[in-house]
């Protein structure tokens, strides 16, 4: 990314073809906008801490979505599964006193992986369209969540969420978790198994013909996603410090949008976890910027200016939509430049998505 100054131009040219290019540009733009409006207040440790700890569940959830999108599938059950981890971990020790608290967290995490695995089986073995299989799954999990607890309640021990929402040397603790996950991804990215996931998303038929088991690869992608959803659920629990049975459901669509803004292609085989992280932060920062703009910045320029929060939501949504459209156009272009031949021959097919 930031090689020697001599070949900076060449580096830039190569970076333009990477999936992360558009996400990086967008996030720089939105950070710049935030700095322009808020000045140095944006970099205060408390601001950063709140920003990272509230954004992290969405960020990890987006990473989970990226894992599935890479393999050419989609998962509509991630958000509600995240809520499931939350509800299970917080409410089970209360409902079943014999269950120690730490084990509820572990079991909830393992169950999230199981949900991912089952999704993978439904899509891979039974060949149900992924969108509908995971949609059906989201209904089942929603029901289970409501069975465990039908309303927001419960609480998480103070020591636990204080760690998550705290700082170490001025750096938010939640940031460490994120860095850890991204590093882990960089490590597994080069593995055979991950490459097979990319191949599956790029061209299912060709992947099958090279002798890779498409079924196993699909299951692997969904299981990896389940693993990340489990972590997102734990982060969500620590962020909420209570249990909310269904509030995570809206995050599913947000995470898909975030992944696409980051530069992941929904047709599969294109994008990295870093794309997801960038996209998710873009979404969070857009909301941050629009709310600041409408509540503080514009009123400071035009005295007496006040509108309802609906305009704020609407403006944020429009910016997000423009970001998505822009990124898709750029990603389509970049993918075509990286591997020109197969994409052109199968125009009709890629459009069917």
């Amino acid at each position: 990314m930031n090689g020697s100054t001599l070949c900076l131009g060449a580096h830039l040219e190569r970076f333009k073809r990477k999936p992360e290019y558009m996400g990086t540009v967008l996030i720089l733009a939105i950070v710049l906008l935030n700095i322009l409006m808020q000045g140095t207040a944006f970099f205060k440790p408390e601001t950063m801490q709140t920003l990272f700890s509230t954004a992290l569940p969405l960020v990890i959830l987006t990473m989970a979505q990226v894992a599935v999108l890479i393999s050419g599938n989609i998962d509509l059950s991630t958000g509600i599964t995240m809520s499931f981890v939350n509800v299970f971990a917080v409410m089970m020790p209360k409902n079943q006193p014999w269950l120690p608290m730490w084990s509820a967290y572990v079991i909830a995490f393992l169950l999230a992986i199981l949900v991912g695995f089952v999704n993978g089986v439904l899509v891979g073995v039974f060949r149900i369209p992924p969108m509908l299989a995971t949609y059906g799954m989201s209904f089942i999990i929603r029901g289970v969540n409501l069975l465990i607890s039908d309303r927001p309640q419960g609480n998480v021990p103070r020591e636990l969420w204080r760690v998550y929402q705290g700082n170490t040397l001025g750096i938010p603790n939640s940031l460490f978790l994120l860095v850890l996950l991204v590093l882990a991804w960089q490590y597994i990215r080069g593995c055979q198994a991950t490459k097979e996931m990319y191949a599956l998303g790029g061209d299912e038929k060709a992947t099958y013909l090279t002798g890779i088991s498409t079924v196993k690869t699909t299951i692997r992608a969904f299981t990896l996603s389940g693993f990340l959803v489990g972590i997102a659920g734990l982060a969500w629990t620590l962020m909420l410090a209570s249990s909310q049975p269904i509030s995570g459901d809206v995050k599913t669509l947000q995470s898909i949008a975030a992944a696409l803004i980051g530069g992941v292609l929904i047709t599969g085989g294109w994008g990295t976890m870093l794309c997801g992280v960038l996209g998710a932060f873009f979404m969070v920062l857009v909301n941050n910027a629009t709310s600041y703009m409408f509540t503080q910045f514009i009123p400071s320029l035009i005295p007496g200016f006040s509108v309802s929060t609906y305009y704020q939501d609407f403006a944020g949504q429009i910016i997000t939509m423009l970001g998505i459209v822009l990124t898709i156009a750029v990603s389509n272009n970049a993918k075509r430049r990286v591997n020109p031949s197969p994409a052109r021959g199968r125009k009709g097919e890629s459009e069917a998505k």
Binding site: F126, M131, L132, G136, S308, Y310, Q317, T320, M321, K353
Partner: protein, 318 residues
């Protein structure tokens, strides 16, 4: 011969959906004898009508090889529009219906242009449209819709013919049949089928495939826009995003009826039976008094089981 005919009937998804619906209805009657009445038939028909508007539009879009996730949002928006413009004034009925259809058509056209010409994946674009529309509703209604439709319009929809056929159902069926005739009898319908089945082949055969695709979305939007108005007339009490759940329900109805998500070859009768089936299932679950969580679990499990039986994608090797 008879056995063979029976076999082919059993493998016909659209007929099976209807059989399942009837079976569910009788199961419900067995468990709750008081539910075995013309009133519950009327309830099924009335509730199916609104979904039928949504799923007919959805079917057209799915036939083109895409998907429309903004159906529910368009319905909610036009429902809000309808009550805001109408405010109980019956003379406004025709202008309101036309406005809402135009609105739905316009939104659908934007979707279509984005998908067909800008080549944004349908899933994403319509998802974005849907969120933008949802955020748009509170702006023009001012937090929540206050108006109502005219009492005459509401009465016309809930009137019962022959004791159990709601007026709503009559209108829904009329539109549904019109659309099916349009898709089966016109050149456009035949072209749409080809575009959905094989995009590249349709381009090679000289069809303006992109325009056909674009119009499919516009048409889906139009149906959703109309659905919103009649939905507002039937339910009367409205909130923001009242009909958002119809997006996924309409997709499920179309798919359960036997239309493949990959495009082409729509099952016209199946869309109707799939709609009836989904509504009967939800009525069944609410009649036998299951709690909401259990109802969710059964809905999800049923959807997955039905898909496993009827709507599997072909294996890679084929």
């Amino acid at each position: 011969m008879n056995v063979r005919r029976l076999k082919s009937t059993l493998s016909d998804t659209s007929v099976m959906a209807l059989v399942l619906a009837v079976a569910l209805f009788f199961m419900m009657s067995a468990l709750r004898p008081e539910a075995f009445s013309l009133t519950s038939v009327a309830t099924v028909l009335a509730n199916s009508s609104l979904l039928l508007f949504a799923s007919t539009g959805q079917m057209v879009v799915i036939t083109s090889g895409g998907i429309d996730l903004s159906t529910g949002a368009i319905m909610s928006t036009t429902a809000c529009l309808a009550v805001e413009i109408m405010k109980g004034n019956h003379s406004m009925l025709i202008p309101v219906i036309l406005t809402c259809m135009a609105f739905g058509f316009g939104v659908g056209l934007l979707n279509g242009i984005g998908v067909a010409y800008v080549r944004i994946p349908a899933l994403i674009l319509t998802l974005c449209t849907s969120t933008v529309l949802t955020k748009f509703q509170p702006i023009f209604t001012g937090a929540y819709p206050r108006g109502t439709v005219s009492p005459q319009f509401a009465e016309a929809l809930s009137r019962r013919y022959l004791g159990f056929v709601p007026g709503f159902f009559v209108y829904a069926m009329a539109f549904y049949i019109l659309v099916v005739l349009f898709l089966t009898r016109t050149q456009y319908g035949a072209r749409l089928n080809l575009v959905g089945t094989n995009f590249a082949a349709s381009v090679l055969s000289g069809i303006r495939a992109r325009r056909i695709t674009m119009l499919a979305y516009a048409f889906g939007g139009l149906m959703a826009g109309l659905g919103g108005v009649v939905g507002a007339g039937y339910f009367r009490q409205l909130q923001i995003a009242t009909f958002d759940s119809y997006t996924m329900q309409s997709i499920a109805a179309v798919v359960v009826g036997g239309t493949m998500l990959s495009g082409g070859k729509p099952s016209y009768f199946g869309t109707f039976t799939g709609t009836i089936m989904l509504i009967t299932l939800s009525l069944f679950l609410s009649t036998i008094n299951t709690a909401v969580p259990i109802r969710n679990i059964i809905m999800g499990a049923m959807l997955i089981v039905l898909l496993i039986i009827y709507n599997r994608r072909p294996a890679v090797r084929q």
